[in-house]
Symmetry: C2
Subunit: 620 residues, 2 copies
């Protein structure tokens, strides 16, 4: 995760908001705190084990000269270790985990030993492959891996105060800056997979050395002129500033947008912001799954055509959803506009979280919106980008709850928590959220701290009703869902009582989304729901007709983590089962339809029980 | 068109039915006879002109040494001239057209002069390219062009009795037989585009020389072992006998099936018939447009995945529909099963006929099922396979009306006509059809001829009611729609009165056809209907909701050829026009819907007036 945290309280000059340190926020909510605990106790240990078993750590031992043998796995496998390290670092920021800390220190020692004398570091290009360094930037992900090293190193420094990994990363970054560029003594190039851009901007923020920002801008700007192969696939078809829409490999496209947003936040280049807003609007009105997932096509892991959003064949890679969270976070910091926070929250719950099982050790790489039960979560992948990407995202969740600005404190996410936030004038405010959110919409926010200050509180979209009560302060404007409402804390014992009411309701899609045509999805509050056979045995999902929005809450403690499901009546269409021998037939008005009761679970929870069908979009 | 006609009355040993000579049937119906007249008076002259203007005929003059210059156009352009020649030959079979006959004779003289001394004939591989003959069978269509030469030559011999073109074709076929094969002195190979197979079988039927049949079987059998590039695209991925479904380039796939059917009819190889029936069932239940069109994808002009049948993006090349007619004709001759005649008729009206304009000189290469009006008919194409393919199909329509067999006479198509048919025992029967079919379902068939004989009369599928009255004979079984009913003519003055009643009705598609999900198509009798803006100005097609099947006939003499349209009430949904800025939104039950009246025209007639939207599938 491009780090949402800056060490100092300096905001990026062209961003309205500034992140808060991760350890400033202590979560105690039923969802994220539970998931972070599982991340620490199950996900990180099992992922480390996978990295060991698959040779990912041996690749560093080999590069360090400690063992013999061949490089193992994909040439980009170093990045999985770095993402795991980043996840571990953010975990250590607010947890005392000696065993984890020892694993981290051991890995860092290996990485130090694997670094070449000139600062180069990539375990694939060692020994017999040393001469092939930088020979094929389109394919070999060297700068991509470097970006993840830099991000892990910054996380480690911020979490622990230690400089060891950052020293390694900075030496490599310096070599990169010396190697690539327009100058006569440098070579042109940029990576087939964007990532280095946002890492270098964060290194600039970390160190204050402007050459890293300039290098990030170089890598962004040199792109789009056909330097690489498969130009559209890797966003080399159009300069980013001229881009009308995201295209090609979805993760790459959105990582590039993250880098562009970071560069904008520091440089204020108006062409970048215009392009970012343009492609964001295009994406959200043409390319986005109702889950928040991105990238329709397996072929090239790519964005498809506009409105091409198939269900069972959805690709919707978990990493693309994580990229979307990272990008929306950056747009939110730049603009303070609630639409980015809305999509960030929606994507976290409905597109990132589905990527990891309720037991914390099985994953979905792709996230279809319909399944016949054949797709099962896996404990690991040969191309294992998603698992450690989820781990670092879960580890850094506390940092997404708030921002600060010269105007006050911004409340983006709701979760039972306590936070110590530093205002721009140095005062420290303690904010407490008491709530069962996301399972309930009642939230009490209390603030302790001297003097007056302002809170900007996000009202989620799609509320049926909402109530706001301010004790010890005042609301400065008429609140509207889907925006931030400005609240002034003016007295001691300030308390803000929010009451969000959201009834289950149907969502419909643009008529050009064929896969959702005349279908509804069920949504309530922050969650998109789905039907799964485990709750609805004997029911043919394709015969279910959503016709009434009357659903009642059923709390399901037996489902790991505790989940609120929805139970309601649906219609049953005549069987479609005898279509096998027909492609077309004369329409006859159905003579009889039945009705039954179904139970819907949040989409993120599917695929955790026995195999069976799953549907998000049901017949209307 | 692989010729549906055999010169003698011998039937293929493994076919139940035998074709009748084209000139045995004189059409006088409102549709086909009108179209054949237009084919003769407009289509053939304008196509000849296009062949002249685009250098297709100059390519022969050049090869014959009569002019200088470069070969013009695509390397397969000879085939367009041959298809035009075949169309002209079938036209001359029952029309006295001296100017056309002179053009034909002139072309044949050019072709004779262009043929090389060893029999080779392809104007692309002349002079500087002579050494490249047969060097790239995947790409260069040499055997494909040869196949069309052979078919044109057979048509010309059967229509005129002249041997000149057949002599040319036979010389080339002999060279082909000497060149390709398994023997040590031959080379392996088969063409990237199937076509030679059916031509060689017909040459075997024409000449009685079994080597042509063996050569056709060789070209079929050698395929499927990866001899060519892009194996699936050109059906070289799987041996035909092992094929489970048609795949790859649609025209190629179906042409190959035609060749396989021809070979089966002569050899009786059970593996061929099993494969043909298997892939036909797969195609008709998974891959067929409701129009009868085939091939969903522009990319590779290919069959898509099962149920992948998009509307606006439909490829549905006109040539693929023609190929389907040819294949169904062959399956019908082999089996006598009505399902093949049903699909042949449906495809002729709703997938072949849309490919040519009502003015006879503009064409659709692809046939979408929905349009915003931007697709317009063109007078010609650089790759002009479709226009002369339609011309030869229209020219040969009379031959599709009947077959004979040892059992009697088979009536496949209904059209006002008079036919002189020879029974297996040599008796000649005169059959007259009096009917306004396809615009009306009342048909009177009278027969004159000595002694008793049997008629097998096809009852179309999807009839609401039907009546059969036999005067001077008897019906031998309970008639059922979608089959042949056996009628015995036992007395003089035999008359059969058929009365087919078909009401307009909706067709729905398999639930997995996303593009037709919750949509209806309107069908009446042999015609699929569509809405076009020209009849429905001011109506947004996407807001139209088909909800009542009550439509009334409106005869439209002002539409070229005279067409019966359907007028009826439909619902109007709330506008979908304000979706542009939304991809998903909360569903709100529509508050008000209107109603209006629309006029639907047969799908074949669309795209002949001012540009506008068109839809086959409308919201249900």
């Amino acid at each position: 995760m491009p780090t949402p945290i800056v060490v100092d309280t300096r905001r990026s000059p062209h961003a309205r908001l500034r992140p808060v340190p991760l350890d400033a926020v202590k979560l105690a909510d039923p969802l994220w705190a539970t998931r972070r605990a599982l991340n620490r106790s199950v996900t990180l240990p099992t992922q480390y084990q996978q990295c060991e078993q698959t040779g990912r750590i041996d690749n560093f031992r080999r590069a360090a000269g400690q063992i013999e043998g061949d490089f193992q796995g994909y040439f980009f496998n170093d990045s999985d270790v770095y993402k795991w390290l980043e996840a571990a670092a953010w975990t250590l920021a607010d947890a005392d985990e000696p065993a984890l800390a020892a694993q981290v220190d051991g890995l860092i020692a290996l990485i130090e030993a694997a670094q070449e004398t000139d600062g180069y570091l990539n375990t694939f290009f060692t020994f017999e492959r040393t001469a092939e360094r930088w020979s094929n930037l389109f394919t070999y992900h060297e700068l991509y891996c470097a970006g993840h090293l830099i991000q892990a190193a910054i996380a480690h420094q911020r979490a622990t105060g230690e400089e060891r990994l950052l020293t390694v990363a900075t030496r490599f970054a310096d070599l990169i800056c010396d190697t690539f560029g327009d100058a006569p003594d440098k070579r042109p190039g940029t990576d087939g997979h964007p990532e280095i851009e946002m890492a270098l901007v964060e290194l600039y923020r970390q160190t204050g050395d402007a050459k890293y920002l300039a290098q990030a801008d170089y890598f962004l700007t040199v792109r789009g002129h056909g330097l690489l192969n498969h130009a559209e696939y890797c966003q080399d078809d159009v300069p980013f500033r001229d881009r009308q829409k995201l295209a090609g490999h979805a993760v790459r496209a959105v990582y590039l947008a993250c880098g562009a947003a970071d560069i904008y936040a520091e440089t204020g280049d108006p062409a970048l912001l215009a392009a970012l807003e343009r492609v964001w609007t295009h994406m959200t009105t043409r390319q986005l799954y109702v889950t928040g997932g991105l990238g329709s096509r397996k072929d090239g892991e790519a964005f498809g055509d506009d409105y091409e959003l198939p269900n069972a064949d959805a690709y919707a890679e978990t990493c693309a959803a994580i990229a979307s969270v990272m990008w929306n976070w950056r747009m939110l910091q730049i603009t303070g506009e609630a639409k980015y926070a809305d999509l960030m929250e929606h994507t976290l719950y409905n597109a990132v979280l589905p990527g990891i099982s309720l037991d914390g050790q099985h994953y979905f790489y792709t996230n279809p919106l319909a399944s016949d039960g054949t797709q099962r979560r896996q404990p690991w992948y040969d191309c294992a980008c998603c698992p450690p990407n989820i781990a670092r995202t879960l580890a850094s969740i506390p940092a997404y709850v708030y921002s600060t600005s010269d105007e006050g404190i911004w409340v983006h996410l709701y979760a039972a928590s306590e936070a110590n936030l530093t205002l721009h004038d140095g005062r420290v405010v303690t904010l407490k959220q008491r709530t069962r959110y996301p399972w309930d919409g009642d939230i009490e926010i209390s603030a302790e701290g001297e003097g007056d200050f302002k809170l900007f509180v996000r009202l989620p979209p799609a509320l049926d009703k909402f109530g706001i009560q301010v004790l010890g302060g005042e609301s400065k404007a008429t609140p509207l869902p889907g925006g931030y409402i400005e609240i002034h804390k003016t007295k001691e014992n300030f308390r803000l009582l929010l009451s969000f009411t959201w009834k289950p309701h149907f969502v419909e899609a643009h008529p050009q989304v064929l896969a959702a045509h005349n279908r509804f999805a069920l949504r309530r509050g922050p969650f998109l729901y789905c039907l799964e056979t485990a709750d609805n045995s004997g029911i043919n999902m394709e015969e279910v007709i959503f016709d009434s929005e009357s659903f009642e809450d059923i709390y399901r403690p037996e489902l790991p983590g505790g989940i609120t499901s929805l139970r309601g009546k649906v219609g049953i269409a005549e069987s479609a089962g005898d279509w096998d021998s027909d492609l077309y037939r004369r329409y006859l008005r159905p003579m009889a339809r039945g009705a039954t009761t179904v139970t819907a679970i949040p989409y993120f929870a599917w695929g955790n029980r026995e195999p069976g069908a799953m549907r998000v979009w049901l017949r209307a």
